[in-house]
């Protein structure tokens, strides 16, 4: 007689609590300007997200969106470590990474609003943010594929000897899809300069990752299956992320092949704009809100001797940026109807017959 494992009722599962902040990370050898840059990035992502949420509540946002409030440190830590010509591959939850790579807020916001001045002219929307000139090589909305695509960019780097690295970000839930497995094995066998970053925020859409995964650490516990080192990093601490990222990027650039990093973090909101996130135990949400990466980092910078006013200035500047971007987006016209038939092909057309 075979038996079934216990099934958790909706929201009734055991809370997964964050570990304590590792204050010794303040001593990591990170240049202060880089730290300030990461602080700014995190604020940019947070304040932009908040505005996007507000605009959604005002009925201005087109379609869905998936925010990253709570997960900013991962995007900031990696972007600060990457070379400008490195490549980012993100998911539908890609606003953070797009901003962190330096793409302007205005075009992103306009894209969310479905405007002609959007980053993609309104054709891609929130889930597909891309800016090739910034090395932001796309946001992919179907789970798994982009890990394989990142390998392709890494292959170009390898063939051409440019030293560029491809970094693919994805969620915990994504570790259970076939493409994850194929991408990791392929990267190792071809010794590709790909860095795979799992942002483990403990949930798929609404289902706790522990209910869907055979191992406690969905990425780290799979590393050995690809001949890789198991690496877990505090995804709510930009310093920890930066150091792990620098290591992995350097290894990839030096011909040392791929890495797989699991960053433990939490999303403050629901999965997407339609989701209040009520399936999560209150205690868990509370504990992670207290472990918010931004106030923690604020404290660290103060402790490192940065003046409160300098941090306040960053917030003010960022808020102004967000305001400007909002104006830019709201002022945008709707996309021209003819754009529907454009850009299927490289000649700009969608012509399939003569």
């Amino acid at each position: 007689m075979t038996t079934m494992p216990a099934h958790d009722e909706y929201g009734s599962h055991e809370p997964v609590l964050p570990g304590p902040v590792d204050h010794s990370n303040a001593e990591l050898p990170i240049e202060l300007p880089v730290r300030l840059q990461m602080y700014r990035m995190q604020q940019e992502i947070r304040l932009f997200s908040k505005r996007a949420h507000d605009l959604f509540l005002q009925g201005l946002v087109n379609g869905t969106s998936h925010l990253s409030a709570g997960q900013e440190a991962v995007a900031a830590g990696f972007a600060a470590a990457m070379r400008p010509d490195d490549w980012t591959f993100a998911t539908y939850r890609g606003h953070a990474h797009t901003l962190a790579r330096g793409v302007g807020m205005g075009p992103i916001m306009a894209e969310l609003l479905g405007r002609a001045n959007g980053l993609l002219g309104g054709k891609g929307g929130s889930m597909h943010l891309t800016s090739v000139e910034h090395g932001m090589m796309g946001s992919y909305a179907i789970i798994g594929a982009h890990l394989c695509v990142a390998n392709g960019a890494a292959w170009t780097s390898q063939v051409k000897g440019t030293g560029q690295v491809a970094v693919a970000f994805f969620g915990d839930g994504t570790t259970n899809i076939g493409a994850f497995h194929e991408a990791l094995n392929f990267a190792k066998v071809w010794n590709l300069p790909t860095v795979f970053v799992c942002e483990n925020n403990l949930y798929m859409e609404y289902t706790p990752i522990a209910q869907a995964t055979a191992v406690p650490n969905p990425a780290a516990d799979r590393a050995a299956a690809y001949g890789l080192e198991s690496m877990i990093v505090d995804g709510n601490d930009a310093d920890a992320v930066l150091v792990a990222a620098r290591d992995a990027l350097a290894r990839a650039r030096d011909g040392g092949g791929p890495s797989l990093i699991e960053a433990q973090t939490y999303r403050h909101g629901g999965h997407s704009r339609a989701d209040p996130g009520t399936y999560r135990p209150d205690e868990e949400v509370q504990a992670w809100l207290e472990r918010d990466p931004i106030p923690m980092y604020h404290q660290r910078l103060l402790q490192l001797g940065v003046d409160e006013s300098e941090l306040a200035r960053i917030v003010t500047e960022t808020t102004e940026q967000v305001d400007l971007a909002t104006q830019e987006a709201v002022a945008g016209t709707m996309p021209a109807p003819e754009s529907v038939l454009q850009d299927v092909w490289a000649d700009g057309s969608s012509t399939w017959r003569n």
């Binding site: 079934m4 099934h7 958790d8 009722e9 909706y10 929201g11 087109n62 379609g63 869905t64 479905g114 405007r115 959007g118 993609l120 309104g122 054709k123 891609g124 929307g125 929130s126 889930m127 597909h128 992919y140 909305a141 179907i142 789970i143 798994g144 839930g173 994504t174 259970n176 899809i177 076939g178 493409a179 798929m204 859409e205 609404y206 289902t207 209910q211 869907a212 995964t213 399936y279 709707m334 996309p335 109807p337 754009s339 529907v340 038939l341 299927v344 969608s350 399939w352």
Partner: protein
């Protein structure tokens, strides 16, 4: 007469079938604890328990593989693939395994299973979450393919699909979920039949064949055309496989003109199939060219203003038919 949304009809149908047959089981991502990302399957877990209603990892091949293996050994699984676009990540299981295994084994195995999936545009989700891919399934021998346009058909046809001994891919239209419909007051289970189209409006001048969301647009278009003196017959195909060619051919015999209204991209859709059948078998009935009204052959754009002009609109249906009839 009870009123029901298309959305609520889904859980009602599944519940009806799970009560009717203890072998019916249901699996998918976020379907049990969370009640489905489209809120179509709420309440099933508490009603039928975690043995029969079960959440899965994000592993579409594993989901449909499990459905297939369960079907061949005595269960009648209903599997949800959250968005029909994701059929692409498990297409091998659908097109190469589920569809062909009965034939390859000379009938040794049966696959009484249903793959339910949310299809179609209108939600501004962009090109990877808005496709109408019923034609992918129709092109593969061994799959039955259904796409209801009303709540009553969601129940009746889903019930029929669950009771059918063959695999059925069941396309629910995302833009229909919030729509309200009246249900017939039938005692007992509501069970439809696969392979029967429905004439939803009788008319003598032109035949319009439509599916799912497009049925509602075709009906609206027919009203406008009627005001202009063009009396359209509107047929809801409902089931692409089996296909009720008889109803379509009979209508064309009466009206002598055929128009199809398809949401899928232009090339190789079910509209082309129906147009070709009519061009072969009812050629002498036709008084003019066959018109296909489709989404242009492009991926779907995300912006609402763009999406709205891409998918066939009531206005486009009206204009196309008016111009064709007046030509």
């Amino acid at each position: 007469m009870a009123e029901l949304t298309y959305r609520s009809a889904v859980a009602a149908a599944i519940a009806q079938e799970m009560e009717n047959d203890p072998d019916v089981v249901f699996l998918g991502e976020d379907v049990a604890g969370a009640g489905g990302v489209f809120k179509t399957t709420g309440g099933l877990l508490s009603q039928f328990g975690p043995v029969r209603v079960r959440d899965t990892p994000i592993s579409e091949q594993a989901i449909l593989g499990a459905a297939m293996g369960a079907a061949m050994t005595g269960l009648r699984p209903i599997a949800e693939i959250m968005f029909s676009d994701f059929l692409a990540v498990c297409w091998d299981i659908v097109a190469n395994e589920i569809a062909k295994s009965r034939y390859m084994t000379a009938g040794q195995m049966s696959f009484p299973l249903v793959v339910r999936t949310a299809n179609g545009g209108g939600s501004r989700f962009g090109a990877q979450h808005s496709q109408s891919v019923e034609n992918w399934a129709m092109a593969v021998p061994g799959l039955k393919v259904v796409a209801p346009s009303t709540a009553a058909d969601v129940i009746g046809l889903l019930a029929a699909a669950v009771r059918d001994p063959d695999p059925v891919v069941f396309f629910e239209h995302k833009s229909c979920y919030p729509m309200k419909f009246e249900l017939p007051d039938t005692p007992g289970d509501l069970v439809g039949r696969l392979g029967e189209a429905r004439v939803v409006r009788e008319g003598g001048d032109v035949t319009i064949v439509a599916l799912a969301l497009m049925v509602h647009r075709a009906l609206d278009a027919a009203e406008q055309l009627a005001a202009e003196g063009i009396d359209a017959e509107v047929i809801d195909v409902r089931s692409l496989v089996p296909l009720d060619t008889r109803t379509i051919l009979a209508s064309v015999a009466k009206t002598s003109r055929l128009f199809t209204v398809e949401e899928n991209p232009r090339l190789c859709g079910w509209g082309a199939e129906i147009a070709s059948i009519v061009a072969e078998e009812a050629f002498w009935d036709l008084d003019g060219p066959i018109g296909r009204i489709t989404t242009p052959h492009v991926p779907l754009p995300a912006a609402g203003t763009l999406e709205d002009i891409t998918i066939p609109s009531v206005e486009r249906v009206v204009t196309t038919i008016r111009e064709a009839v007046q030509a």
